[in-house]
Each structure stands twice: as structure tokens, then as C-alpha cells.
């Protein structure tokens, strides 16, 4: 089966300020193996050239559909937001290695920041299916950018921070760390690099800690060597798109 296909846009709607929910349909959905994998979209615009990577926020293999949540940040996402329902878009994927959902785990902590939050949704769903108790620690810039609160609430405990305090607790996510329980089987995180650094520092010597990294990508499938991250104590770098995007925190240098 080809890694490349045309995916049909079922929905493409703003759900919070500059944050869109994109539902795509296609046979590629069958091939998704783990939450945390991503797809590489070719946005049909004169203003872009390379593909753009987006994590899967959720997928329904019975319906051949998956959901992506994206934020308008630059040219490509701005153009993506213009695409109408019913049109098709070239998709490469699913790509990368996602989160391993260990069925033995009883209690896990999922930490997400900003537009790093989406992949934690499917991860939470998968853990819920296994009967694992899930706590979400989510950080947003402000109330306007808050999304998916109700959806997360259905999956477990949700602790929310906003930088300006306009929703939930006020502060950055690491303010919550001292207040959390201490009996996690594992910690999972996705978000901006400073946040991932804080997560690594705080949790990785106590719990298996998994981080989903972001890097600027060209190919998305391991052939351009554009998206590397240094390995702890090893000389060869790892490729975020192919070896990751999810890594054990102790394995990579941020």
C-alpha cells in the first residue's frame, strides 16, 4: 500500500482562537498503529512548497477517519484553514513511532502544552480503554486558546493552567509539579521544548517519561536528515520523524 494518498476533508472548523479541527478520511487510517504518530500534509497553495507535519489527535479506524487539531502559526497553516470540506489533500503517512500504550500501567500522567496537547487525546483514549487511570495536566496561553476540555474530562482528571490565569489555574505548567501525586507508572508529554525540558528534569529520574518532540522537517520519513536530536551519550543523532517523534526522555538531549 502506498505511503501517499489523497485524504478527503470531512471537516475543517475553528474550535478556539486560531485553532482548527480537521477531520480527514482515507485508507491510510487503517495503517495507524499508535497515538503520537503523525501525517505530512501537502497544502495546495502557491505560498508553500514542502509538506507540513501534524500529529493525530484521534482516529476511528472503523470510519476510516482521523482528526488533527492545528493552530494557525504561519503561511501553511493559514492556507490550510482556507480549505473547504469535500476537497482532498495529499497526505503522507502515518509516519513515525508514537506512544506505546502499556496495558499493565494503572495510573499515568499526561502533560501537554499548547498545540502539543492534541496527541495526548488519543493517548488518553487508548489508556482509558485499557482501564488505566489518566490524569491530564494541560497548559494553554489563555482562555481563548483553550480547546477540548470536555473531551478530556471524559477520559480522566484534568488540571488546567493558563499563563494569564484566564481559565483554570494561573501560571506555567511546571508550577503544578510539586502539587501532583507521586505514584505514576509513567509520564507522557508533548509541547514546546522549554516545557519538555522541565518535564524531563522533574520526572525522568523517577518515572519512565516519554516525550514527543518537534523539529522542522523536510521529508518526514527519514531520508533528508533534517530533523535530528542528539542521543544521550552516543554520537549519532536520532531522527525525530523516523526514530520518534516519541522518545524516552533519558534517551535524548534537549
Amino acid at each position: 500500500m502506498s505511503l501517499q494518498c489523497l485524504a478527503k476533508i470531512i471537516e475543517n472548523q475553528e474550535i478556539a482562537k486560531d485553532i482548527f479541527q480537521l477531520i480527514l478520511e482515507g485508507d491510510f487510517v487503517e495503517k495507524i498503529e499508535q497515538p503520537g504518530q503523525f501525517v505530512h500534509l501537502l497544502i495546495p497553495s502557491q505560498k508553500t512548497f514542502l509538506r507540513r507535519p501534524f500529529s493525530l489527535a484521534s482516529y476511528h479506524q472503523d470510519k476510516n477517519q482521523c482528526t488533527i487539531l492545528y493552530k494557525i502559526l504561519g503561511t501553511g497553516t493559514k492556507e490550510l484553514a482556507q480549505l473547504k470540506k469535500g476537497t482532498s489533500i495529499s497526505l503522507l503517512g502515518p509516519l513515525g513511532n508514537g506512544f506505546f500504550v502499556n496495558p499493565l500501567y494503572e495510573k499515568v500522567l499526561l502533560i501537554g502544552g499548547g498545540i502539543g496537547i492534541p496527541p495526548l487525546y488519543e493517548l488518553g483514549k487508548e489508556f482509558q480503554k485499557k482501564g488505566t487511570e489518566v490524569t491530564f495536566l494541560l497548559g494553554y496561553r489563555n482562555q481563548e486558546e483553550v480547546f477540548y476540555q470536555e473531551e478530556f474530562a471524559k477520559l480522566g482528571t484534568v488540571i488546567t493552567y493558563t499563563e494569564d490565569g484566564s481559565f483554570g489555574h494561573q501560571g506555567r505548567i511546571d508550577a503544578a509539579f510539586p502539587t501532583l501525586e507521586k505514584d505514576w507508572n509513567a509520564v507522557y508529554s508533548c509541547g514546546p521544548t522549554p516545557m519538555l525540558k522541565a518535564v524531563k528534569e522533574n520526572f525522568s529520574n523517577q518515572y519512565p517519561t516519554y516525550l514527543s518532540l518537534e523539529e522542522r522537517m523536510a521529508c518526514g520519513f527519514g531520508v533528508c536528515y533534517g530533523c535530528v536530536v542528539a542521543q544521550t551519550k552516543k554520537k549519532t543523532p536520532l531522527k525525530v520523524c523516523q526514530d520518534g517523534p516519541v522518545f524516552l526522555a533519558t534517551e535524548v538531549e534537549l
Partner: protein
């Protein structure tokens, strides 16, 4: 008779399409997407004597119909490549071009000597045009005396044909091409990337960690065609044309400018199937344009 077949020193190709170094990894990922036996030839990512980490990230940036890269020759080094990676290419009945780089003449010599002894290697491609490393790389490729000397030295120790990959970042590419020819090159690959930059509007600093990067993709096609045309009319070496190719018409333009074969790089990132797709379209397009054979087309272009 195969109308698509082209023959270059060391490279008996069933069609003129091969991937470009650095845009095809070490082949494996593409081998999972399609049968690599369809290609005219295969190529390695640049191989250096020692393993190289490459540059810090961001290493890539987008530009209008193009991209910048500053990978910095990341590779596992000669020994590991020979021990672990070359065997993969043995399963294909297609010639292999090994792309090599170095910081010193001696490094090029050692790598060339050892690689040319590997039975799977059909020819070498000397990358003297990488704009992304502090030492060697492009500085080798912009001075005709150095080019002459380097090519001559590498030729002495190589047992397979040697292609020299030239940089477009020079005042006169014909002068450099002639120096490579005088040094004994068996063929030329042109072009490597153009030196470029993007700024990050938020930090107000260059977007790539390395500052500058190499520009590739459709944006550079007219520059590449011009280089091929100029060199084809000034030397008699066979030319592998490269730079911005993404369609079957682009391929034909390069052959009309004097190239004998072509490499496709950046286009693989947009469409990983671009090489077999173009190969598939070649004959129909040749019919439409009354082209009997590709070797003939190049011959006409250079006569």
C-alpha cells in the same frame, strides 16, 4: 532497443533517472516504497572518513519553490558505512554512485580508495561543493587549482570512474569544470546547492542554526540548466544534470541542455514516488515531442 537507456562511464543505466545524494538517505526508506530496480542508478548520502554528527537544528527551511538545508554531511563514517550500509545496495541490479566528501585531500583519497574497492560501487561522485561545512566542502570547489589537484589525486587511487560534483556558487563554472576535466574526471555532476539564507522574524536572526544553507528545489532549476548548458558547450565530459527537477519535462530540458542523465533531489520530499512516476512518463512524452532516443537527444544537444 531501449530508447530510455543511457550509458555513462561506469554507469550503464536503463533510464537517465537517479536520485540525488542526501535526498535519498541510504536507499532503504525508498526501497520500502517501490522497487529500486526501476531506477537508472542509485546513490549514497555523502560518506566521510570519520562519522559526522552534522550541524545543529533547525537544519531545514522553506523558500519559494525551494528549500534550504544545512545538514552538514551527517553520516556514520566510512567504516560503518562499508560494514553496515553498502550491502543493502547489493540486492539491486542497478549501478551505484558513492558520494564522498572530506575536509582534506588525504581524507578524500582514503575514502575514494576504499570505496572504489567495494564491488557494489560502480563509480564515485566527489562532493566538492557542500556549502554547509566549515572545512573542505565548497572551499574545495571554488578554486580551479585546488579542483585540478584534488581530482588528480583521487583519480590516482580510484579503480572506478570518478564524477566531480560542482558548485554553482562561482563566478565561472566553466573554468572549474575544465580544471576537473584536466584533472582526469570521468564525468561531472552539476549542480550542488546555491548558498542562501532565511531570517526568523521572531528572533530576527538567521532561521537555520548554521546561518546559511544550500538552496535546492524548482527555484534553482534555471541556474542549473544554465550551468549544464555552459559546461556542455565547453568540455567533452558526460554530465549528470541536477537542480530543481520535478517533472518529466524538466528532465528533457536538462538533456536538451546537454546532460546525459539526471538526478532528482528535493522533489522526493514532496512526492516520494517522483522518480518512478517520471520514468513511467518518459516514453509518452518523447513520442509527443518526436524524440527517438535519449542518448541521441544529448548527442544532438552537444554537437
Amino acid at each position: 532497443m531501449n530508447r530510455l537507456a543511457v550509458e555513462l562511464p561506469g554507469l550503464k543505466m536503463k533510464n537517465p533517472i537517479m536520485p540525488a545524494s542526501g535526498c535519498f538517505g541510504m536507499g532503504k526508506e525508498f526501497g520500502e516504497l517501490y522497487d529500486l530496480n526501476q531506477l537508472g542508478a542509485l546513490i549514497t548520502k555523502a560518506i566521510t572518513l570519520e562519522p559526522r554528527f552534522g550541524n545543529p537544528t533547525p537544519r531545514v527551511a522553506e523558500t519559494p519553490q525551494g528549500m534550504l538545508n544545512a545538514i552538514g554531511l551527517q553520516n556514520k563514517g566510512l567504516d560503518t558505512v562499508c560494514a553496515e550500509e553498502l550491502s543493502y545496495y547489493e540486492s539491486f541490479d542497478v549501478p551505484l554512485l558513492a558520494n564522498i566528501a572530506g575536509s582534506t585531500k588525504e581524507e578524500y583519497e582514503i575514502v575514494a580508495q576504499i570505496l572504489s574497492k567495494q564491488s557494489v560501487v560502480s563509480a564515485l561522485e566527489l562532493n566538492i561543493s557542500c556549502p554547509n561545512v566549515k572545512e573542505g566542502g565548497i572551499t574545495f570547489g571554488t578554486d580551479s587549482d585546488i579542483v585540478f589537484d584534488l581530482v588528480q589525486s583521487v583519480k590516482k587511487v580510484s579503480t572506478v570512474p570518478v564524477y566531480v560534483k560542482l558548485s554553482p556558487n562561482v563566478t565561472d563554472i566553466v573554468e572549474i569544470a575544465k580544471a576537473a576535466e584536466a584533472g582526469g574526471a570521468d564525468g561531472l555532476t552539476l549542480i550542488n546547492t546555491l548558498l542562501g539564507m532565511r531570517m526568523n522574524l521572531k528572533t530576527r536572526k538567521p532561521l537555520l542554526a548554521n546561518g546559511t544553507g544550500g538552496l535546492s528545489g524548482p527555484a534553482v532549476l534555471p541556474v542549473a540548466l544554465r550551468c549544464v548548458y555552459q559546461v556542455a558547450h565547453a568540455t567533452s565530459l558526460p554530465i549528470i544534470g541536477i537542480g530543481g527537477i520535478s517533472t518529466v519535462d524538466d528532465v528533457l530540458e536538462f538533456l536538451m541542455a546537454g546532460a546525459s542523465a539526471v538526478q532528482i533531489g528535493t522533489a522526493n520530499f514532496v512526492d516520494p514516488y517522483v522518480c518512478p512516476i517520471i520514468i513511467d512518463q518518459l516514453e509518452t512524452r518523447m513520442d509527443e515531442l518526436n524524440i527517438s532516443s535519449l542518448e541521441q537527444l544529448t548527442k544532438e544537444a552537444r554537437s
